[in-house]
Structures are given as structure tokens and as C-alpha cells.
């Protein structure tokens, strides 16, 4: 099998068996908490302060923002998982919840695990009906303290967030100096803000210290497990990939969760691509009037020889459909980032999903099929972004980098990104003026070496390279045709081209496990949860091989892996099992071998969902 076999990033967890049922004693560097607030009140910076500070204590940590499609006034949550074993998936088991939003008190209190803690603002009494015997309530008068210490509604609201961060610091033993350093760095240019942040931090911290037994059994201890890593979101990483790949034209129409990709591209370009003397830009960003136009700009730029891309989400992909077919059939390189969100229609724009797999694979009308890459984390967003431009130019076709809201917008702990200065872009078969002059006749769509790819010419280079690009029927010389054979010659070659591309996309990542007869298959953002679930299932006596798909069209290794296992669990985040359908369609594997495990409520996948899925199916199907 050609699949890339990789060593496990982290060893199987020593704590794996103790994690879900809670063992006695302290749970050092292995717990989860979340903060429930109201959006638009400035809690995001307090939460990212917490995440960063834990990370800087050397402890593996992930943060998941569960936020509403709204600007101000609706409930929002931030979930932080501390995992000394390096597990990155979301966990639904919360040891502690900071309930700052009265509107969600009932739900937040219900979600604390038995034996856990609830931190609330005791400036106002909690409704007695909400109290639970199996949860410890920690009331801190955050609001009242901030009203006394600060003036003005804005500052009082903002500082309440820093105050709960301070209280948490005391409760979980977060190093206050690390937090203060982070605040200093954040407000380097606003010393006044540093003072008020420190004051607020201490309001919470000192109160907690004075009134509660700090730290709680869920607590932090310095580690050295984040060295060589950074915290980064996938959209930022993908944007950086575009910069490093040499993309010069970006076109887009704002849409959550893809917007921050173009924002980051703009920021990086402003930093790296503006001439210090003249202010001239070595890039062009077009905020188009809609996604149709964004796709058109990218295709026009690709046709004219630039590396061009557009970030979007499912609704944008739908609008781009016609243009995607044009680019496929006229063979124009174009890179599309689909940061998936929950559909259909507007769906839940701020929640995650893997709902666009089928619509990407065969986007547009007629016989089309597309190259797609499925990064599993921000590190791969960077690498696949770079690779996408190479593939697009090499195969002269649209290439999709398919991530999701969880990967794109949440901060992940990833190994530091690296760059090889010897790397040069693969611009594919582009004829120079000299090459064109030396040719008898240039035929735009004539494949001479059998890989399905025909050399192209760029406008403005040489009159001999001129041809007429058309979405209507054309022959190998690019001339208009409605002749059946001439038409078939082109579309059959496109098929060969996509077959060649299947060998060039990243191969699946395969992890084999001692004694495994069954397997699990997933892609993209499911990876963290599946890795964790597989490790825990192995401890429970259910060893599974694991294949993570990274590219489409599928490499031969994908079919081989499926055929080598009698029973394969296909894990994905959509209702209809789109990956499973795609595997069946493309590999011809019998459907009864593929057992679907789906989680599609819009929150990132947890290991528990995967484990429950597997064990439930095993209970149903006699072995």
C-alpha cells in the first residue's frame, strides 16, 4: 500500500482509562472547562488569554469557540481542554463551567459533570432551583467588584471577563506571571490598559484565594510539552500558505467561516509584499460583489498566469458552480478554499460540519470531478495550501482545499511551521515564447505525453500561443466543435488527467495497530477525535487500523485499505454519510462493509461520539 504510514504524534494516553469516569485524586493537566458568556461583551480576549497562558506553561491545550451567528447579545461559549497527552479533540465532559450568562445558567449548570464545579457571578443570587448537590458552586461577586473598581459601563463589562480569568487562575493554579506577561504583550502600546487588566485580574484571583480552597483538584502544573509548537488557526495558516506559494491574486466575498483567511492574507501581504520605499503592492486583493464574481476573478487571473485563490464556504461554492465547470473544462488553474460550515442553506453559519464533500467532488454540471485536499489541522492547512497551487497549475484545473470552521477558526496547537528556501513552485506546462516559436503548431488541448495534461500558453507572450478559450465544445486545437468524437477525446483526456492527479494528491495516512481486523476511516477535522477514540478503544480491546484520507480523487491505497478490512467504520460530520458514499462510488467497495458513524450537530467531533458509535455498531452487528 502506498499510504503514508506515520508514527503516532503522541503516545497512547496513560490516562486513557481514567479519563471518562473520574478517578480519585487530582487531575493534573487533564481536564476541560468552558466559559459561557454573551457575545459582544469582550470575553473573547479573556478566553484567548487563558488559552495562551496555559500553552505558555508548556501544557498541551486546545480552545473551541462555540459562537452564535450574531454580533451582540446571544449566548457564546469557549471550551478549553487541557490534555497532558496532547489530545486535541473537543470533549463534551466539562469538569468546570464558568457561567457568566444568566440566560444559559440552566443549561450550563446541567452540563457540569457530576463532581465538577460551577463558577458564577454571585453579585446576584442564583435561582435555588438550579442548584445541584453533585456540583460545587463557586460564587464570586465579579460584577459588583468591577462596578466598585471601575467607572463606565464599557470598562466594567470588559473587566468582568478579566476578573473571571483571574478567579480561574487561582482555582486551577494558572501561573499569574504568565498571564501578566501575556497582558503586557497584548497591551504593549496601551500602558493604561495594562493597569486596569492587572487590577481586574487580581479582583478575581484574590477573592478566589481568600474564599476557596485553591487550587481545585483539576489543576495545572508546568510541563515542557509545547516547545516547538505554536497556537494557530487554520485560516491564518492557509493564508500564510498562499503567501509562501506565491499567490498574487485573491478574490473573495465575505462569508463566515472563511473571512479570516482573506483577512490574514491581507495582513501577511501588508507585512511581506509591500515595497518599503514606494508602498507598491506585489499582490491584488479583490473584494468581489459576490462569489460568482470572486470565482470569475480567480479564473481570469489563473488564465493570465497568476496564482489566484478564493476562500469561501458552502453557499459560496454553490454560487461558483457554473464557473467551476468552466475552469474544469477549459483547464484553468484555480484554488478554492472551502471552510465548511453547517448547511444546508444558511444553516448554522458559525457551526462546523463536513457537509460539502459530495458537492465539492463533483461540483458543477456535466461530467466533472475535482482535485480536493483535506487538511486535518492548521499545519496541514499551510502545507496543503502551498501544494494546492502546484497541483492547480500542474493539472490546470480547479483545486479545493476543504477544511471546516473548527479547523479554520479555532486555535490549535501545531508544530512550528517550517519552510525550505530551496522550494520553487511547479508552474506546470507553460510554454515560453521561445518554445512556442519553435513549434510547428500550438494545439492548446493536445496531450503529447499521455498524462492527460496539455501544455498551455499565456496571453501576451507570443502570437503563436494565441487560442480561443471557450466553455463550449472544443477540439484539441481549441476550435469550436459539436462533433461527438472530438468532444469525447477532450473529456476522456480530462478523465486521464484526474487519474494522474490521484497519484499526486497527498496519499492517505495509515496507522496500523497490532491485532486489528477492523478499521476506521475519516478525513479532515475528525482526525483528533478518531485518533483519541482509536487509542481508547484499543485499551478496551477493540484495536482498529486507521486511514485518514487527505486527497481526492482517491489514491489507489484508499481502495486497497478498504478491501483489506472486512468492516470499516467511516466517521464523518454530516447527516448522509457523504464520505461513505464517495468511497463506494469511487472504489466500488460493497456498501455493507462500510459502517457509518455520523455526528452533525455542528460542534466539533469528540472521541466519545466516535467510541459510542463504534461500540453501538459492534453491539448491533454480530461479529
Amino acid at each position: 500500500m502506498r499510504g503514508a504510514r506515520v508514527a503516532r504524534l503522541f503516545p497512547d494516553p496513560a490516562s486513557a482509562n481514567g479519563r471518562n469516569g473520574d478517578g480519585d485524586g487530582d487531575r493534573v493537566n487533564d481536564f476541560a472547562f468552558k466559559v459561557g458568556t454573551v457575545n459582544g461583551t469582550g470575553s473573547a480576549s479573556a478566553n484567548s488569554l487563558l488559552l495562551q497562558s496555559i500553552f505558555r506553561m508548556g501544557i498541551p491545550v486546545t480552545g473551541k469557540n462555540v459562537f452564535p451567528s450574531n454580533i451582540q447579545g446571544l449566548p457564546t461559549w469557549y471550551e478549553i481542554r487541557v490534555s497532558r497527552d496532547g489530545w486535541t479533540a473537543r470533549t463534551p465532559d466539562f469538569d468546570l463551567i464558568v457561567a457568566m450568562n444568566p440566560a444559559t445558567h440552566e443549561r450550563d449548570i446541567a452540563e457540569v459533570r457530576s463532581g465538577g464545579w460551577l463558577l458564577h457571578d454571585s453579585s446576584w443570587p442564583l435561582d435555588a432551583s438550579l442548584l445541584r448537590d453533585d456540583v460545587t458552586f463557586i460564587g464570586i461577586p465579579l460584577g459588583r467588584m468591577c462596578v466598585e473598581a471601575f467607572s463606565g459601563g464599557r470598562e466594567r463589562t470588559l473587566m468582568k471577563n478579566i476578573a473571571y480569568a483571574g478567579a480561574l487562575a487561582a482555582l486551577i493554579d494558572l501561573d499569574l506571571d504568565v498571564v501578566k506577561d501575556a497582558i503586557r504583550a497584548e497591551f504593549a502600546k496601551k500602558p493604561k490598559s495594562i493597569d486596569s487588566n492587572f487590577l481586574a485580574l487580581h479582583l478575581g484571583y484574590d477573592y478566589a484565594k481568600a474564599n476557596f480552597a485553591c487550587p481545585l483538584p483539576i489543576r495545572l502544573e508546568r510541563m515542557d510539552a509545547t516547545r516547538g509548537h505554536v497556537l494557530m488557526d487554520g485560516n491564518t495558516a492557509a493564508a500564510l500558505g498562499c503567501v509562501y506559494a506565491g499567490a498574487t491574486v485573491g478574490a473573495w466575498y465575505p462569508i463566515t467561516p472563511a473571512t479570516s483567511l482573506m483577512d490574514a492574507f491581507g495582513r501577511f501581504c501588508a507585512r511581506y509584499r509591500v515595497d518599503a520605499g514606494t508602498g507598491e503592492r506585489r499582490y491584488c486583493i479583490v473584494q468581489a460583489e459576490d462569489e460568482l464574481a470572486a470565482a470569475g476573478v480567480v479564473i481570469g487571473a489563473g488564465w493570465a498566469g497568476a496564482r489566484a485563490f478564493t476562500p469561501t464556504a458552502g453557499p459560496g461554492i454553490s454560487l461558483m458552480g457554473e464557473f467551476i465547470g468552466l475552469a474544469y473544462y477549459t483547464e484553468i488553474p484555480a484554488v478554492f478554499f472551502d471552510v465548511q460550515r453547517t448547511g444546508p442553506s444558511t444553516g448554522m453559519p458559525t457551526r462546523t460540519q463536513q457537509g460539502d464533500l459530495l458537492s465539492i467532488a463533483y461540483a458543477s454540471h456535466g461530467d466533472t470531478k475535482h482535485v480536493a485536499l483535506f487538511p486535518a489541522d492548521p499545519a496541514e492547512c499551510f502545507r496543503f495550501a502551498v501544494q494546492a497551487f502546484d497541483l492547480a497549475e500542474r493539472f490546470q484545473t480547479p483545486v479545493f482545499v476543504v477544511s471546516d470552521l473548527d479547523i479554520g477558526m479555532n486555535d490549535w496547537m501545531i508544530p512550528r511551521l517550517e519552510w525550505n528556501d530551496a522550494w520553487r513552485p511547479d508552474r506546470g506546462e507553460v510554454l515560453t515564447a521561445g518554445q512556442l516559436q519553435a513549434m510547428q503548431r500550438f494545439s492548446r488541448y493536445l496531450d503529447v505525453d499521455g498524462d492527460g495534461v496539455a501544455a498551455r500558453s499565456l496571453p501576451g507572450v507570443d502570437p503563436k500561443g494565441a487560442y480561443f478559450t471557450r466553455g463550449s465544445g472544443h477540439d484539441s486545437h481549441a476550435a469550436y466543435t459539436e462533433d461527438a468524437d472530438a468532444y469525447r477525446e477532450i473529456v476522456d483526456r480530462l478523465k486521464v488527467k484526474l487519474e494522474t492527479a490521484a497519484r499526486a494528491v497527498p496519499p492517505p495516512e495509515i496507522r496500523e495497530r497490532e491485532g486489528a481486523e477492523m478499521a476506521i476511516v475519516a478525513l479532515g477535522g475528525c482526525n483528533g477525535a478518531v485518533l483519541e477514540a482509536a487509542a481508547r478503544l484499543a485499551i478496551d480491546g477493540i484495536p482498529l487500523d486507521y486511514m485518514r484520507i487527505r486527497g481526492f480523487p482517491f489514491d489507489v491505497a484508499v481502495g486497497e485499505f478498504l478491501r483489506a478490512h472486512d468492516r470499516v467504520f467511516v466517521v464523518e460530520q454530516n447527516r448522509d454519510g457523504q464520505l461513505r458514499s464517495l468511497l463506494q462510488l469511487e472504489t466500488g467497495i460493497a456498501g455493507d462493509r462500510l459502517i457509518s458513524i455520523r455526528d452533525y450537530g455542528g460542534v466539533p467531533l469528540s472521541a466519545r461520539a466516535v467510541m459510542d458509535g463504534v461500540t453501538a455498531q459492534l453491539a448491533e452487528v454480530p461479529a
Partner: protein, 351 residues
């Protein structure tokens, strides 16, 4: 990297331009439009304009949407790359081409269906971006290629071939462009080459988006009595507001223009556009006046033609973006990739 094709053996009657190219060198494939279609006359005018302007054919990118009009990009400049894109979306593709290679001269051809219905948003936003290009709107009041449905420019009361009357108000691309802040707005008639060719030449020299609305009758579906965009109807109603003469510096002929009757507007590239004012007070640099004139002439039941509005100093897309002068598609990779040291520094900031 560029080179100029050697002209083929030429008919003695075809005189070469400064590049040694004859008009033939600016032609394209044989037209497959209906005999007598106005669009073919526009094609001929584009050929003539490019020839007279000494345009280097392969330094042009010709783009279009979908429709009979959009097919015509195949019928001129065979030595230029052409792109027949999708219905109504040529402006976006042109924007991308311009973004990638600002040195190409872009000629976009569209129809009234392509531009005013499915592609109305795209037209508006290309105007707003002020993409440097010639945008020819071959306006016949119908959808030719889909066989004669009314387009959004059909006048109230105009009759379709089957007899039904249009009752919806038309969209006038010229008024629209003026309102949107277009920097070059002209209108002509496919049957009036003497006016159209100079307008096209001026438009191609314009450093921004140049809209040329050309009334271009569809002989098959819209050239009958009751149609307001037929040959007969248009010839009769044409009202020349501002005849334009485009005079490149190399061939400047002033003698034919009596002083006092002409307004000379210098173009950015140094060449001059001269307006002969039919109305004594007509000023093509006054947007409000242009709007009022077009409306007034329209209310008289006439079509205002000529170079209606020109703003020479507006920043085009690249000026607005501060794009580097060299075409982006060809920048050395080393000037685009920040390299490993920059990445290391960035990673340190994120640690």
C-alpha cells in the same frame, strides 16, 4: 518575451500600419452570425480601430460572456488570446486578467442580455472598480442566441417578432454607468463606423473602464416595424451629441477642425480626443450635464450618441490598489515568498 508576427503576403490595397500590419492581421475567424447582424459591423469597427491604433495583436486579451454578441471575440484579432466565459460574468474574468497582467489591453464584448440582466451586477462592479478595459455592449434589445426574448434594454412598446409588446421600463446602460461613476461613457451605432471607430480608439486609450454602448440591431429577431432597435428606427432617431475624433499624436491632423467649435481633451498617453459639440454648451467632462443630455435627448424620442462623458484623472483598479507596475503573474518567486527566516520570526511571535 513579446514578439510581433510577420505580416502575411498582403493585398496591395491593404496599407500597413506603423507595425507593418494590415487590417487583415487584425481579423479573426469567419463570423457565424446571421448575415447582416449588427454585431459583425461592430467587429469590423474593432478591427479597424485596433489597426489604426497600431495595437500589438497578441498583447490584447479579448473576453466575452455568452450570446451572439459574445461570440464575436472569435472574429477579430486571431493573434490574441480569447476567452468566451460564462453568461454575464465576463467583467469578473476581465478583472482577474487585469489583476494578473496589467500590461494586456483588454477588450470585453457583451450583449444587452449578458450585461443588463444576468450580468448587471458584474457590469456595475467592474465600473466601480474602474478596471482598465474597453467594454463593448452590443445592444439589440433582445436575446439573440436564445431566439428573440426581450432583454432589459427593450423600450416600452417595442414589439417582439411574435407580436407581444414590452411593458417593462428599460435599463439604459449609459445612464446607469453615469450614475455609477463610470469614467468613460459613449454610445454609438453599429451602422455608423465613422463615429464608432474613433470612439473605440478613444476607449482603448482610456486608463480605466470605458463603456461603449453600441446599438447593434438583430436582423433576425428585432429588425422589424415596432422594434425600437432596428436599423431603420435607430438611423432615424440617432442624435449625435458629440462627434468624436480620436487623433493619436503621431498622426495629429488639426486642420479639419475649426477652432472654437471643438473641445480637445488630452488623454493620459499623450494622444488627444477632440469633441465637436453639436450643442454649444455640451461638456463631456460634466457628469450631471451628460446625464441630463442623454435623458433630454431620450425624451425627444432620440438616441444620444458620441462620447458622452470622460473623466481622465480617476484612479483605476491598480492605482486604487497600489499594485506594482510589473505584471503580477510574472514577478520572480523570490519577491513573493518571505522565506524561512521570516517564518521563523513569525513562529516565535506565536509561541
Amino acid at each position: 518575451m513579446t514578439s510581433i508576427a510577420k505580416p502575411p503576403v498582403r493585398h496591395p490595397a491593404l496599407h500597413p500600419n506603423a507595425l507593418g500590419l494590415t487590417r487583415r492581421d487584425y481579423e479573426g475567424a469567419m463570423s457565424t452570425l446571421c448575415a447582416g447582424c449588427g454585431h459583425d459591423s461592430v467587429t469590423a469597427a474593432i478591427v479597424q480601430a485596433c489597426h489604426e491604433l497600431d495595437v500589438v495583436p497578441h498583447r490584447v486579451a479579448k473576453l466575452s460572456g455568452i450570446g451572439c454578441s459574445s461570440k464575436t471575440t472569435a472574429y477579430f484579432l486571431r493573434q490574441a488570446h480569447g476567452f468566451n466565459s460564462v453568461h454575464g460574468r465576463m467583467p469578473a474574468v476581465a478583472t482577474g486578467v487585469s489583476a494578473a497582467n496589467r500590461e494586456l489591453a483588454i477588450i470585453g464584448v457583451s450583449g444587452d442580455g449578458d450585461s443588463l440582466s444576468i450580468g448587471l451586477g458584474q457590469l456595475c462592479h467592474a465600473i466601480r472598480r474602474n478596471v482598465r478595459m474597453l467594454y463593448v455592449l452590443e445592444n439589440n434589445g433582445v436575446y439573440g442566441l436564445t431566439k428573440g426574448q426581450f432583454s432589459a434594454s427593450a423600450d416600452v412598446g417595442s414589439k417582439a417578432k411574435r407580436g407581444e409588446q414590452n411593458r417593462q421600463k428599460p435599463i439604459d446602460p449609459v445612464l446607469l454607468a453615469l450614475t455609477l461613476g463610470a469614467t468613460f461613457v459613449a454610445r454609438s451605432f453599429s451602422g455608423d463606423k465613422a463615429q464608432l471607430v474613433p470612439i473605440l480608439k478613444a476607449a482603448m486609450r482610456h486608463e480605466g473602464f470605458a463603456l461603449v454602448d453600441v446599438i447593434s440591431p438583430c436582423v433576425t429577431f428585432n429588425d422589424h416595424e415596432g422594434s425600437t432597435k432596428s436599423y431603420a428606427s435607430t438611423r432615424e432617431r440617432q442624435h449625435e451629441v458629440a462627434p468624436v475624433d480620436f487623433v493619436p499624436i503621431t498622426h495629429e491632423i488639426r486642420a479639419s477642425y475649426a477652432p472654437g467649435e471643438a473641445l480637445t481633451v488630452p488623454m493620459h498617453d499623450g494622444s488627444l480626443v477632440r469633441f465637436r459639440k453639436l450643442a454649444e454648451d455640451y461638456d463631456p467632462t460634466d457628469r450631471d450635464a451628460a446625464y441630463a443630455t442623454v435623458k433630454r435627448v431620450h425624451e425627444q424620442g432620440e438616441v444620444a450618441t458620441g462620447l458622452l462623458y470622460l473623466e481622465e484623472d480617476a484612479a483605476d483598479m491598480h492605482a486604487l490598489n497600489h499594485t506594482i507596475a510589473a505584471p503580477l503573474y510574472d514577478l520572480p518567486f523570490e519577491t513573493l515568498c518571505p522565506g524561512s527566516a521570516a517564518l521563523e520570526e513569525l513562529m516565535r511571535e506565536l509561541e
